[in-house]
């Protein structure tokens, strides 16, 4: 029972497993020197961790479970890697005892390691996300499986010979009542096949990079050995492995080859998803259910309406502002006749929007249809005035008035 232990690694089962593994490492079970061949899932550190986690998980589920899982997944990779390298270590020490050439020995061990990595993609597989993007394929598969002419098997990876057969099969022209549906299905399958080809190519390129990274790591270790540098921990080995992978990957992603392959992968997936949407829509239409196209049409109309509302709001605001100017300017103008020139009042209003906001607050309660009519009248009068002013450009006095008036109208909030 996991509950009785303060920490999960107090668990005796774990200790037993550790002991078993240590025994194995110490050579009692003859696993030394044979990396890959005797890799036993029953005694690995990674599997021991999985064992413990299954016992521990029920009491640890929390908001941080996602991070737990990522951490455990990567620790698992670290354990798998450490286990492999611990075996190489032991083999190297054994070799030293026998006066064998360390460099040659390291080369041989890495060859074993490379073949192990090629067979085992558990070490680190960061391309999982691509699989999540394929979800529409499941939907299409179910359609296909229910269709009389096809089965979901056509989605599976095919040999080159079967691919040819598939191409011929997909080129059969559609006939009869369901001609269009058949052609769409064929097109979707062609797109899926294209995506599958790209997907496989992408993975094989990534496998090549992993292989190259191991090669680089081996060179680094040999270089370190030649320069008398020591490796003192499994963690150091793990970090060298990470750095080697990043270096190889980092160089590759800047190449045209990667840009082109990545684009092909994404573009072919999108093309397939697009076609599968189309097919889904066809089915939904036959059932008189809303389709994504009809929802998009609604969304577009709603978007356009929102824009119109905003424009109207802006115009309303400008109108309100103008009205406020008008109503507040009247008493000020009257006052101005006896004390200050009107121009300076207007200029100040333009520079300080907050002042106008206060004025707006004062007049907000008196908004009525009659005021709107008044405003329309005043606007007409203003337009007349503007025309008159435009005609009377000769006098600088009228020019000044025009500028001040225009400045007030241009204020936006």
């Amino acid at each position: 029972m996991a509950n009785q232990y303060k920490t999960p690694f107090d668990n005796l089962d774990w200790s037993d497993i550790q002991k078993q593994f240590m025994d194995a490492v110490m050579g009692k079970k003859e696993t030394f020197g044979m990396p890959g061949n005797n890799f036993s899932s029953n005694t690995s550190w990674a599997d021991a961790m999985d064992f413990w986690w299954r016992a521990f998980k029920p009491e640890s589920v929390s908001a941080n479970e996602n991070v737990f899982n990522k951490m455990l997944e990567q620790c698992r990779s670290y354990y798998l890697l450490s286990q492999q390298f611990s075996e190489i270590y032991q083999a190297m020490q054994k070799a030293q005892q026998g006066s064998e050439d360390i460099v040659q020995f390291l080369n041989e061990q890495f060859q074993n390691l490379e073949s192990l990595f090629a067979e085992n993609n558990q070490i680190f597989n960061w391309t999982n996300f691509i699989d999540q993007c394929e979800q529409p394929a499941d939907l299409l598969k179910s359609f296909m499986s229910s269709a009389p002419l096809y089965t979901g098997d056509v989605f599976n990876e095919l040999s080159p010979e079967l691919k040819k057969v598939r191409e011929q099969f997909l080129s059969v022209p559609g006939v009869g009542y369901s001609r269009e549906t058949q052609e769409k299905m064929q097109e979707a399958l062609r797109l899926w096949a294209s995506y599958q080809d790209n997907y496989q190519e992408f993975h094989s390129v990534m496998a090549r990079l992993n292989h190259d990274a191991l090669g680089l790591m081996r060179k680094r270790l040999i270089q370190m050995h030649k320069e008398g540098e020591s490796v003192e921990s499994m963690r150091q080995i793990y970090n060298i492995w990470v750095d080697s992978n990043e270096k190889v990957y980092g160089e590759f992603v800047f190449t045209e080859e990667y840009a082109e392959l990545n684009a092909r992968l994404v573009n072919s997936l999108m093309a397939f998803k697009n076609k599968s949407h189309e097919i889904t829509e066809d089915y939904l239409r036959t059932m008189n259910l809303p389709t994504s196209s009809s929802i998009e049409a609604l969304e577009r109309r709603q978007y356009e309406l929102r824009k119109q509302v905003r424009m109207l709001e802006a115009e309303m605001k400008a109108v309100k502002s103008e009205l406020t100017q008008k109503t507040s300017a009247q008493p000020e103008q009257q006052q101005a006749k006896s004390s200050k020139p009107a121009k300076s009042q207007k200029t100040r209003a333009r520079k300080k929007p907050a002042r106008k906001r206060k004025s707006k607050a004062k007049t907000s309660e008196v908004k009525s249809s009659s005021q709107v009519v008044d405003f329309k009248k005043s606007r007409l009068e203003k337009e007349k005035k503007k025309k008159a002013e435009a005609a009377d450009k000769a006098t600088s006095k009228s020019d000044n008035k025009k500028d001040a008036s225009a400045g007030m109208i241009e204020i936006k909030f």
């Binding site: 951490m71 960061w126 270790l221």
Partner: protein, 354 residues
């Protein structure tokens, strides 16, 4: 001589020690329930659709009269600029006596998929700027753009010179075709029209994945193994979790805006070529005559320094300054080093000009 002298006992001992740390770490993580982010006191002062404009409470007796509006990117969430006490650029700016506003774009919904760059720049940002101008009684305000928000701020400044007093860009891409721009390299041949037509809004997860694939072994692997080393310290674990929360808190990207941004900025490099169109207007950075402070990160793997530095040759101002931060794209906001360097530099630069 063989330099690889670890014996089996050492190896197992190391792994056992790691096991113990892992166990303790999982215990620590299971004890963390609430991950608080966004420490500075603020109030929402303007809302529109998903957008919320926040105004931060001052932390000094006297403030700079000209407000500062922070325009965040559409990618990830803006609390990164206010992550936690002592690791908050906004806190630092408030301590410099700045009157700080921030645009939080929120989480776009499917119904927002038709919003364009024009809606964001001449719509949302412009209305926020007008709100602040009115509230502060200032004709012009200061802008600070973060990453993509910097691009938006540049476009806005070029189109609305009458409302921008000073502009600060931080880790902002300008030249999208520099040799070391991996993001740009990755999207050059992608059929963006097809992506947007198929996906509508672009899922945040897809963007996350793109960013992680820039350094997959480090960001998806080594980071979590290294995490085990710090999990005996709850504060360090919390710091990690805050960053983790931010990294994966990714709103979907509005489809039309994404289409326009990737095509015009990344694929066509329109910002430096002067071909970016926002609505009916073409953005000419030469129109930016107000003072510009351009801050970039020396080790930025998302926005290469050369991409940001290109701004100097594009803007029309005679008052241009740049500042290089010795760190990465995120470190410029959250690292201890950044807290000592960035807010004081911004504060001083603005004080001299406001």
């Amino acid at each position: 001589m063989n330099n690889f002298q670890m014996n089996p006992v050492d190896i197992v001992s190391e792994i056992n020690e790691f096991n113990a740390k892992l166990a303790q770490g999982l215990k620590t993580l299971s004890e963390i329930e609430d991950i608080d982010v966004g420490v500075s006191e603020k109030e929402p002062v303007y809302k529109e659709d998903n957008l919320v404009l926040y105004h931060f409470k001052p932390r000094t007796k006297k403030q700079n009269a000209v407000p500062l509006l922070i325009v965040y990117a559409l990618v990830n969430r803006p609390y990164m600029a206010d992550l936690q006490d002592g690791r908050s650029m906004i806190q630092g700016l408030l301590d410099e006596g700045l009157d700080v506003y921030l645009i939080d774009w929120g989480y776009p919904q499917s119904v927002d998929k038709y919003l364009t760059l024009d809606d964001y720049i001449n719509g949302y940002i412009d209305r926020c700027v007008d709100f602040i101008r009115e509230a502060s009684n200032q004709e012009k305000i200061n802008l600070l753009g973060i990453c993509q928000g910097g691009c938006f701020s540049l476009c806005y400044s070029a189109l609305h010179q009458d409302k921008v007093k000073n502009l600060i860009t931080t880790v902002t891409p300008v030249d999208f075709h520099t040799k070391d721009d991996l993001l740009s390299h990755m999207v050059q041949q992608i059929d963006i029209d097809q992506v947007v037509d198929t996906m509508g809004n672009i899922p945040g997860e897809m963007l996350n994945w793109t960013f992680l694939t820039l350094k997959p072994y480090t960001l998806m692997g080594q980071k979590y193994v290294d995490l085990v080393d710090i999990l005996d310290d709850k504060n360090k674990a919390l710091n990690f979790m805050r960053m983790e929360k931010w990294i994966f808190d990714s709103p979907d990207q509005v489809g039309e805006t994404y289409r326009q941004f990737i095509k015009q900025f990344y694929q066509e490099n329109g910002l430096v070529k002067g071909t970016v169109k926002i609505g009916e207007q073409t953005v000419d950075l030469e129109n930016i005559k107000n003072p510009v402070l351009n801050i970039y990160a020396k080790d930025d793997h998302l926005v290469p320094p050369d991409s940001s530095r290109a701004l100097e040759g594009c803007v029309g101002t005679s008052d241009y300054q740049s500042l290089e931060f010795p760190g990465g794209h995120i470190g410029i906001y959250v690292s201890g080093k950044a807290q000592k360097m960035i807010p004081p530099a911004v504060g001083q630069w603005l004080t001299e000009r406001s």
